[in-house]
Point group: C2
Chain length 259, copies 2
């Protein structure tokens, strides 16, 4: 089992009357992917343990091994401070209905105050019964295409687990990858723009003459926007230098080290 920063304060996932062992395994897999581990079962149709769960868990065996069986929702949530029920569509109930993203924020806030939450999922075919939903403090409904809402148990659990992790995971929105190294210093970029413009000027590229400033600005914009790295700027300088030469294998030397 992998330790995870959020484990202590993570929500329990409660499967109410799940039918297929395979789906229990898929839920465990979804939980493991996002660092959850507390799985609770109420009345699994085919008993527990269920041999079909293991293969579907794809390695998240520790979650299945630690899964706990309860007789009722009330028993399963005694240690929880807030309980959320997932439903496909909002019910006409006197309950708040929220997105999984909003619920994830609330669960994270509860955890920050030392309180635990649970998210309930109903059986595959029918979902939670009204009296089961009534045991929850609020309803979680995943926003789907109104013309085609067909998320199964494991998919609903995946979205809820995913949103829980996104509420605290510090992965930056975007990072420059690998050898990219980030944009070059302006000095290097300026050198490239001047080098290119000089070679073009020698060939009467800037015509009519009074348009030279605007045309230089266009070239600068095009070369500036991509955020080329120092290495990429060096590559482009090599390209400009080679394009400026007469064709043919005039030089006995390979491209030098700034190409």
């Amino acid at each position: 089992m992998s330790a995870d920063a959020g484990d202590q304060a993570a929500p329990a996932f409660i499967l109410v009357r799940p039918q297929l062992g395979e789906n229990i395994g898929m839920v465990a897999r979804a939980m493991a992917n996002f660092g959850l581990a507390d799985l609770r079962l109420i009345g699994p149709r085919d008993g527990w343990p269920n041999p079909a769960a293991g293969p579907a868990a794809a390695g998240a065996d520790w979650i299945l091994e630690r899964a706990r069986l309860f007789d009722s929702i009330a028993d399963a949530v005694t240690d929880r401070h807030r309980v959320y029920a997932t439903t496909v569509r909002p019910r006409g109930m006197m309950k708040e209905t929220m997105t999984p993203r909003y619920a994830a924020g609330l669960i994270h806030a509860l955890a920050g105050n030392g309180m635990g939450a649970a998210i309930m999922f109903g059986p595959e075919r029918s979902g939670l019964e009204t009296e089961e939903v009534a045991m929850a403090d609020a309803i979680v409904t995943i926003p789907v295409n109104p013309g085609f809402g067909s998320l199964n148990l494991a998919q609903a659990a995946l979205v809820c687990a995913y949103e829980w992790r996104q509420a605290w995971d510090r992965t930056p929105d975007t990072v420059l990858g690998g050898d990219h190294g980030g944009p070059a210093r302006r000095e290097a970029l300026d050198g490239l723009v001047e080098h290119l413009a000089d070679e073009l000027k020698r060939r009467n590229y800037f015509r009519p003459e009074h348009r030279e400033p605007v045309m230089r600005q266009t070239l600068r914009s095009m070369l500036q926007r991509p955020g080329y790295s120092e290495q990429e700027v060096r590559t482009l300088r090599g390209v400009v230098r080679y394009l400026s030469k007469p064709p043919g294998n005039g030089s006995p030397y390979p491209p030098d080290d700034d190409s």
Copy 2:
């Protein structure tokens, strides 16, 4: 097929060398749930159409029927302006690596400028090859538990489709459900608090006397925080009135209409 507000400007999902027809169907199902419809296939292992795809699509047949087969990534993206490649882990490539949420925002922004995007998914077992990733403008990596990253093809597609929808779906974060009707006017709440305090005062609840203001404040806080509706305030007034009566079936009448 269901029409959907975002269809015109929605990204294409490209499956590169998918192995199992069932997974192609599951991807179609995930797409349909979030209002996507443009599925493109490159070199599906078992040919196309694949009879295993239909049952797994769970009704999203129109996506499978319209799925298009291409010979190469280049052919599959000719009409696209930006192409994203999903990978399990960041590669050491000179590419930006971003979360699906951030990518969804960019794709939505592109669409707002009339431009189309594509998201590529690699084969089940191996993921995209380096030279396939190189065809993309940026890499999308789903933030998972570093100790257990095991999302399959359909799960990755589900998260990307889900995030795309969340980027524009106007479902409010939270709504009061069904008959709740929202918090009562303050006048109704004040009436309840006074009614309760008066009945308590008649029974010498406020002791020592100088603590009465603080104790009233505590009661008000407790009754104010839940945001009880007009109907719930009436129910509570009935409860207070009945608790204030002597026990026994003293009244021949059922609770009156404000109970």
